[in-house]
């Protein structure tokens, strides 16, 4: 199934979009691999992945229909 991925901050600027669609590869580390291939411009950037508003570990499964987001390092305050 297709995931819609929200993108923020510097990552959003680099790939020039606020969200995009991608086939669900199953878990977080597979998603990262896929992103690195699709967007070489973010290979060197640090980011975390959130699933349904919670930070996710690399081994974590991505449920179909989940809200997934790429989060560069926070800089609020």
């Amino acid at each position: 199934m297709v995931l819609t991925i929200k993108v923020f901050g510097k990552i959003s600027e680099e790939i020039d979009q606020m969200e995009f669609s991608i086939e669900n590869p199953g878990n977080v580390s597979a998603l990262i691999e896929k992103l690195q291939a699709q967007f070489p411009q973010i290979q060197e950037l640090k980011y975390a992945i959130a699933i349904n508003h919670q930070l996710a570990k690399p081994s974590e499964d991505i449920p179909d229909g989940a809200e997934v987001a790429l989060l560069p390092p926070f800089s609020g305050g």
Binding site: F8, A69, L71, F74, S75, G76, G77
Partner: protein, 148 residues
């Protein structure tokens, strides 16, 4: 005045005005079990960057996640310290140098709880809320901030 377990919006469009802060303080005059308030204010600095000086920070956030996280932090800090009140406000959009972008306000019967809770909130807000600041430099370049 304050109720636990009610998620609330923390975001303010643009800078947080000193008048908003004054009103927030004045609203606590009826809570006569409060003995101390602790306030932290984040202010935008005119840092020097390659080829220019920061003139503003433009804030964006993953709002739904930030509000969820802020709610979790709020609950955790309320259960750790004997607080009477707690308020958190963060700017979105452009905040110029010298303006306030973060307002954290805790109140308690005795001063220690308010001060410790305020400090803990500030640290957790900076580390855990998905908010991003882009420093706008006066030569029309920009730099994404990164909290350390």
């Amino acid at each position: 005045m304050e109720k636990l377990r009610t998620p609330k919006n923390i975001f303010v469009q643009g800078p947080i005005s000193p008048i908003k802060i004054a009103n927030s303080i004045a609203n606590h005059a009826t809570k006569t079990d409060i003995g101390g308030h602790s306030i932290f204010l984040g202010q935008v600095r005119a840092d020097e960057k390659d080829g220019g000086t920061v003139r503003a920070i433009a804030y964006t956030a993953y709002e739904e996640m930030a509000l969820q996280k802020a709610f979790e932090i709020r609950e955790a800090v309320f259960s750790k310290y004997p607080l009477t009140c707690m308020h958190i406000y963060h700017s979105l959009g452009e905040v110029k140098t010298g303006e306030i972008c973060l307002f954290v306000f805790t109140s308690s019967k005795h001063r220690k709880a308010a001060m410790q809770a305020c400090e803990e909130l500030v640290e957790r807000i900076k580390a855990e809320l998905p908010i991003w600041g882009k420093e706008l430099v006066d030569n029309d370049t920009s730099v994404w901030k990164e909290n350390t």
